[in-house]
């Protein structure tokens, strides 16, 4: 006998495992084909385009995107939700607003580590604040400035146009001589 029983058993196991793997892959492929056929033609076109785009990327770029994707998947669900909302807000901003944001970002990365940490502390303090709350907070700052006569209002008709000059300001400011 060229093969004893033990060897025959090993060969059988390998054959069964290989057959199972092929079968599972085939089922999976069939499922994917089924899912694919369920998609709308627009979606199929879009995905085909993504695939082409992906194939045109350099290996390094593909690796970077995979790494980013893995990082994204490592975030907890809540964090992903917050980041996604911020991304949606970014998409909804005007070009000018985006540029202001980018300038703020550029300024931030140029700051010293200590200053960045201070800013992060400030950020963490307000981290739980919703965008609506942030808007309200900014509005409060504007109100504080405006009532103290410290701010040029957006509207010209808001009474804040008067330059801080004794020869032109109203008489009441005489009383505020410091």
């Amino acid at each position: 006998m060229l093969m004893n029983k033990k060897q025959l058993l090993k060969l059988l196991i390998v054959l069964i495992l290989s057959a199972s793997f092929v079968l599972l892959n085939s089922i999976r492929a069939n499922e994917q084909i089924h899912e694919w056929t369920q998609l709308s033609s627009e979606m199929q076109t879009l995905l085909a385009k993504y695939k082409t785009d992906w194939q045109q990327l350099s290996g390094q770029h593909q690796q970077q995107l995979i790494s980013n994707g893995q990082r994204w998947l490592s975030f907890p669900e809540e964090r992903r939700e917050v980041l996604w909302q911020r991304f949606q807000r970014w998409k909804g901003m005007s070009q000018e607003h985006r540029e202001t944001m980018q300038q703020a970002h550029s300024r931030f990365i140029q700051l010293s580590a200590e200053k960045r940490q201070q800013m992060m502390k400030a950020y963490n303090r307000f981290q739980k604040m919703s965008p609506e709350k942030q808007q309200q907070m900014m509005q409060r700052f504007k109100e504080f400035q405006q009532r103290g006569g410290q701010m040029m209002p957006n509207s010209m008709s808001n009474g804040g146009m008067t330059p801080n000059d004794m020869s032109t300001i109203p008489m009441s400011d005489l009383m505020n001589r410091q």
Binding site: N68, L83, R86, F87, R89, W90, T100, M101, A104, H105, F108, I109, A122, Y123, R125, F126, M129, P131, K133, Q134, Q135, Q136, M137, M138, R140, F141, K142, E143, F144, Q145, R147, G148, Q150, M151, M152, N154, S155, M156, S157, N158, G159, M161, T162, P163, N164, D165, M166, S167, T168, I169, P170, M171, S172, L174, M175, N176, R177, Q178
Partner: protein, 306 residues
């Protein structure tokens, strides 16, 4: 990536504005156009002038605070000789929040003021100030401010010597509740101290005032107010002239009282041009003068924001 997303979450209000303004000013009492002290006894000095100035403001705010930088320079050319007034102010403020209800502003300001007719009022100054502001949810609140201002009056004339002074100012302003952009009242009171090296200029003050702001009349925005101030001097009052041509000492410490009613109207002509009119009427009474002085002043000017 995180930093980008960090900043995506912050709204930033950023504004830079330059304003050119020009207008006419008139007063029946030159003293009320002085930047510092009203000394009285000069009520015959009327003054007319044309003022031109340039103002620059840069401000940036997000929900954690921000800063404001302001520069303002003006020149008021008097219609008669030696009555020009020039002024330059450079100031910077930072803003932060102690919590959502209490905000905090710190200010530093450099001042240069030059008055040809009242040279003892001309000065160079440095101001440091801090303000705590409480904002409630119905448009009201209060501001509590404290400031120190060091002034160097280095121009000497026949009646006055050079002197330095430190002015301290504790102010409380209460804003009554109102809807956004609706008219509102505010009440203010202050305790001030003017600690001058010239003893005759050393005094403490109390101030009270009430103002009605942000109202509209026809197409004008307006504000009106009445303010009262009393200055209590360290030194006895100046002597009063007697019928023999000599002087009688009053024997009492000098006490000055000033009240002013003021009105301001503004109208937007185009998105960048506005017209503004202001008027003030008041009375100044001092134990160092025989009679109270009534005064009034008007100014009107155009501002162009660009």
């Amino acid at each position: 990536m995180f930093c980008s997303l960090f900043f995506l979450s912050i709204d930033v209000f950023s504004d830079t504005s330059k304003t050119l303004y020009t207008g006419l000013t008139y007063t029946n009492n030159l003293e009320v156009q002085a930047d510092t002290d009203i000394q009285g006894n000069q009520s015959s000095l009327t003054r007319e002038g044309i003022v031109t100035g340039l103002s620059f403001i840069k401000q940036s705010l997000d929900y954690t605070g921000g800063y404001t930088f302001q520069a303002d320079a003006s020149f008021n050319k008097g219609f008669t000789s030696d009555t020009d007034i020039s002024r330059f102010v450079l100031s910077a403020s930072t803003l932060s929040a102690l919590n959502p209800d209490w905000l905090w502003r710190n200010t530093i300001s450099l001042n240069h003021y030059d008055n040809e007719a009242l040279t003892s009022n001309s000065y160079k100054g440095l101001l440091l100030g801090t303000t705590f502001g409480y904002l409630n949810n119905v448009g009201g609140g209060s501001d509590i401010s404290f400031s120190l201002k060091q002034e160097k009056h280095d121009q000497v004339d026949v009646n006055n010597e050079a002197y330095d002074t430190t002015r301290s100012n504790l102010t409380f302003i209460h804003y009554f509740p109102h809807k956004k952009d609706a008219p509102y009242w505010n009440f203010n009171t202050a305790l001030k101290s003017n600690n001058a090296s010239d003893k005759q200029r050393k005094y403490d003050s109390t101030m009270l005032g009430i103002n009605y702001k942000q109202w509209t009349l026809a197409s004008f925005d307006g504000q009106i107010g009445i303010n009262w101030q009393q200055d209590r001097y360290d030194q006895t009052a100046f002597a009063l002239p007697n019928q023999m041509g000599g002087m009688n000492a009053t024997g009492k410490k000098r006490k000055d009282t000033l009240y002013v009613v003021s009105l301001q109207l503004g109208k937007t002509l185009t998105p960048s041009i506005a017209l503004q009119f202001s008027a003030g009427f008041g009375e100044y009474d001092s134990t160092s003068s025989a009679d109270a002085e009534r005064f009034y002043r008007f100014s009107t000017h155009l501002t162009w924001r660009f």
